[in-house]
Amino acid sequence: MHERLSFHIKRDSVLHRLNPLTKLVLTLALIFLAFTFPWYWMPHLLILIAVIPLSLLGKVFREFWLTALKLILPAAGFLFLMQAFFQPIGTDVIFKFYFLDITSESLMFAFKNAMRVFVMVSAFTLFLLTTHPSELMSDLTRRGLPGQFAYVIISTLQIIPQMQAKAQTIISAQRSRGLDTESTFFKRAGSVLPLVGPLVFGSLVEVEERAIAIEARGFTSKHAKTSLHEIPDSDFDKILRWILFALIVFSIGLNLWLS
């Protein structure tokens, strides 16, 4: 059996019990605040007062930091180094290496940008750690998202691991037949087609069959569908969503007003 592709970790916490839409709004609010609030230390403050407490609240502190270290730090770190070295702003040179120089301005700029990206990615990681994809989709479908979108997202998450396994099988099979995937550039470029071909055609064959199967289960039916799982949506959720929404508007407004 192939695992469904997701970060989700099943725990019982305040964050897990929140309505999926509330968590989505929370994620967006963190991102908008980090990117639009016109105060230098905002992203840093958000990590201290929101990201870390939320990861504790969601009981995913350890997993969150493991994912963060694996996913976010390489990218954010690389971004920081590139920008510190290459942003041609500022005059106060701290460090010089051939034509590369770090000024205090470019260092501050790089730090802020890396932190912003860190907030963005960690907000999404937290959201994904505490929200099951099907829960989010059934909640959004109940609120009027067309069922087709839910089908596309959920079934993609199921197909990707299968497809990756299939790709591995094809690579091994073609290698055992002597396909060169490691030597010169032209040999490697030439092996794209024998690898991509079987994978793509093999998957496209299934399309018609799947289409008939879901058609037979009322996929295009216009009637309202009932759901087996009820997803709770408390008053607390509703109030929290409005507060977060107001925060987003306030931050964008402040940014526009000051610029």
Partner: protein, 229 residues
């Protein structure tokens, strides 16, 4: 307007989209493993755009990036408008008849590449201050150090990197359409768009490949010129 969007989508489209997204991701990873200097992560998007229309292509592109973001690497998320426009533009080009022979597909790839370069520039500038975490940012950084302003530096980098990738993508998608049996194509909304003109001569294919090779050489030449002074 709304009807035009709707006619891109029948049940076959909805089934093809998840498979196309998975193709994008799986092929992207194969190419990464082969260590080639391209991404080829939008073959599925172009395929949907040609078979089902621009809006279906755009949706596939955007969802590809969003799902790549939520399942594999969150850094892919902010780039969804680029993938959206790649799908949309490829679909429009197919609608105008530019998905029927090898040289036309090369034109499609080129137009898609320019669109991608245009859309990714503001994202790179406003979200990342011009320098992103991808390898090609070294070129951008160099251009900025040597005095070009941020927007033109980012745009020229994209312009250098994108065409080779997108033309190869379009050609692979076309090869897939040529390889599909007629019976499999018939069920898609825009099947007539990919009806090829006459027999596809191999000479044309070689000319198309020649154009791509020339472009690669040109890009390499420009790169050396830029980096050399």
């Amino acid at each position: 307007m709304f009807e035009k969007i709707k006619n891109n989508f029948n049940t076959q489209t909805w089934v093809l989209i998840p498979i196309a997204i998975a193709i994008n991701i799986a092929v992207g990873q194969i190419v990464l493993a082969l260590k080639l200097p391209v991404y080829l992560d939008s073959i599925g998007t172009v395929l949907v755009a040609a078979l089902c229309g621009p809006w279906a292509g755009a949706l596939t592109g955007a969802l590809s990036n969003i799902i790549w973001g939520i399942a594999i690497d969150p850094n892919a998320l902010p780039w969804w408008p680029v993938a959206f426009m790649i799908g949309y533009m490829a679909g429009r080009m197919a609608q105008w008849g530019f998905f029927k022979s090898w040289w036309k597909v090369v034109v499609t790839g080129f137009v898609v590449a320019i669109t991608a370069a245009l859309v990714s520039t503001p994202i790179a500038v406003y979200l990342y201050g011009g320098i992103t975490a991808s390898g090609s940012s070294f070129i951008t950084a160099y251009l900025m150090q040597t005095g070009s302003d941020m927007i033109s530096a980012v745009f020229s980098t994209n312009f250098l990197v994108e065409p080779v990738d997108k033309i190869t993508t379009a050609m692979l998608a076309f090869a897939i359409v040529l390889g599909m049996p007629k019976r499999m194509i018939g069920g898609y909304p825009k099947a007539s768009q990919v009806e090829t003109e006459g027999v596809q001569s191999t000479t044309q294919l070689y000319i198309a490949i020649g154009v791509v090779v020339l472009l690669v050489l040109f890009a390499a030449f420009m790169l050396r010129n830029i980096l050399g002074g």
